[in-house]
């Protein structure tokens, strides 16, 4: 008994099918193409998840927030109306917290825009007095209107706005970016499908004669398709692993740079364990997609052969 034959006998029945055809390698670029696609998918998915987290965090912070501005040029009148409004709002139904924002906080908020330096004074500027309200539920337009009506008599210069309303354009932009990320992922999935279809067709042409022989010997379409599926799975697994590593490195670097900004909204965009599990599952989805595509492509082509 020769060594190869002995080895062959020990490989077992599972390996029988793999020797029906010579290795139908779908082309050496395949793992690289899949690696690029998976890396881009990982980055797009991570971006989408980060944006979702940021939006969710901001929404949670602002959902019950209401800001009351007392817009009056006269400081005395402004403070008087603010105190009166605060007294009413503290006892308004649904209000769980009401606070007059201190002047020092306002100065700190304005400093980046006005360039205040030590010794400068902005007391002369007609800055509105602010009351920060926290409601026991979402600040719906109806509740905001009710609050506005309640303080209209004591603070005619008051403007009442839901805090979430100020960020509506931001939320809309985030939503658009999330759709964009989803669209990119869909496009990349289609690119994967196209790459696998092209490679499978190319491999079918290359091995057409062998496939015909296997058919003539009684080989079934699923038997032949499984050989191509295995190759597609291997290519996708190798490419997927490379792509995941590349994408993960990019995410980590980007994450560190964004977290260095120190912005509250950006901090809320951090990826959690569930997010990372979803990202890690992307190469697995890529393998499944490649295998399914290879199977359908090969079976479809084989049906055209007798």
């Amino acid at each position: 008994m020769n060594a190869a034959a002995l080895f062959g006998s020990l490989k077992g029945e599972a390996d029988s099918e793999s020797t029906l055809l010579p290795d139908p390698r779908m082309g050496s670029p395949m793992p690289w193409v899949i690696a690029i696609v998976i890396a881009l998918t990982v980055i797009a998915a991570a971006s989408g998840l980060a944006l979702r987290n940021a939006a969710a965090r901001a929404d949670a912070d602002l959902v019950g927030g209401v800001t009351v501005q007392i817009v009056s040029a006269a400081p005395a009148d402004r403070n008087h109306q603010a105190d009166a409004a605060l007294a009413v709002l503290e006892h308004a139904p649904g209000v769980i917290d009401a606070r007059h924002v201190a002047q020092s906080e306002l100065d700190a908020l304005l400093e980046p825009w006005l360039g205040t330096r030590p010794g400068d004074t902005i007391d002369g500027l007609p800055i509105p007095a602010l009351i920060d309200l926290r409601l026991d539920g979402p600040a719906t337009p109806a509740r905001v209107s009710a609050l506005r009506a309640r303080i209209a008599a004591v603070a005619p210069a008051a403007r009442v706005d839901a805090q979430s309303g100020w960020l509506t354009p931001v939320f809309r932009a985030i939503g658009t970016l999330q759709w964009l990320a989803g669209g990119l992922i869909a496009l990349l999935a289609m690119a994967t499908i196209a790459a696998v279809v092209l490679s499978a067709r190319n491999a079918l042409v290359t091995h057409r004669q062998t496939i015909e022989i296997v058919h003539m010997l009684g080989g079934t379409d699923p038997q032949i398709a499984r050989v191509f599926q295995r190759t597609a799975a291997m290519d996708a697994a190798i490419g997927g692993s490379l792509g995941l590593c590349t994408g993960a490195i990019a995410i980590i670097i980007l994450g560190r740079q964004f977290s260095a900004l120190g912005s509250g909204m950006v901090a809320g965009a951090a990826l959690g364990l569930t997010d990372w599990l979803m990202i890690v599952s992307i190469p697995l989805a890529g393998v499944a997609l490649a295998v399914l595509t290879a199977r359908l492509t090969v079976l479809s082509a084989l049906r055209r052969m007798l």
Binding site: G218, T220, Q223
Partner: protein, 251 residues
């Protein structure tokens, strides 16, 4: 005269044309019975290979009816086709060996297709290669084999699964007379074990070596029946103990 056995193949008014060309086979009608040895003769271009393609289900006819193993072969579903093909052994004129596989793997291919385990494949394939004189070439790939060696591998592959019907297209065209006789002996032994053998050849000497054979002759796509083979199948013969190593094979 005894009643003929149930037919293994029945052609009824079969015609074949490629594309819009004129028919290469016209009004072909015949019946093949189990355990008989048939020669298909005819000049080059007479349509032998085309008829064999219909026999081994590589081609569908343009018209007519074909029944194989009691089933309409023309309307056979794609799912059932592999099962029928596994009952056939085919020696192609151009061998059609898988170039990337060794002689061993080429011969083992029908068994692997049938799902036989590697453990069960080793012995029969090794013995079959030994019998066709290629034991020391089992690892050689087809491009490194001579024409005769490739033909022997092709024949070993065709008979390894002990088919119900063996179809061979010029199977001794590339081997020396001694090997041709040996291969013919293999076919006869297989035939004695019950396999129907159909050999396409224009080698008259080969035909004379099998006196009980039945001859079908193709002439410009039409079939003649010089020995009455298609109407009066002779009696079945029994296997001898000098048979080549076919006892181990499947079925």
């Amino acid at each position: 005269m005894s009643e003929p056995d149930a037919e293994i193949v029945q052609f009824d008014n079969v015609g074949l044309r490629y594309g819009t060309e004129k028919e290469v086979l016209t009004d072909i009608s015949f019946t093949l019975y189990p355990g008989r040895f048939y020669f298909l003769t005819g000049a080059s271009g007479a349509g032998k290979t085309s008829l064999l393609k219909l026999l081994y289900l590589a081609q569908r006819p343009s018209r007519g009816l074909i029944r194989m193993f009691g089933t309409d072969a023309i309307t056979l579903s794609r799912e059932r086709l592999p099962g029928f093909r596994r009952r056939l052994g085919v020696v192609f004129q151009d061998f059609r060996l898988v170039q990337h596989l060794s002689a061993f793997d080429n011969v083992a291919l029908p068994l692997r297709v049938a799902g036989v385990s590697e453990r069960e494949i080793l012995k029969p394939v090794t013995e079959m290669l030994d019998w066709v004189g290629l034991a020391d070439r089992s690892h050689a790939r087809p491009p490194t084999l001579s024409g005769g060696e490739q033909q022997r591998v092709a024949i070993a592959r065709a008979v390894i699964a002990r088919p119900d019907m063996l179809v061979a297209d010029e199977p001794t065209g590339n081997v020396d007379p001694d090997m041709a006789m040996k291969l013919l002996q293999l076919f006869e032994s297989l035939n004695r074990l019950g396999t129907t053998v159909v050999v396409a050849t224009h080698d008259v000497h080969l035909i004379r070596k099998v006196p009980e054979s039945l001859i079908m002759r193709l002439d410009k796509g039409r079939l003649s029946d010089p020995t009455g083979a298609l109407r009066y199948p002779p009696r079945r013969t029994t296997p001898s103990f000098d048979d080549p190593p076919l006892g181990f094979v499947l079925r």
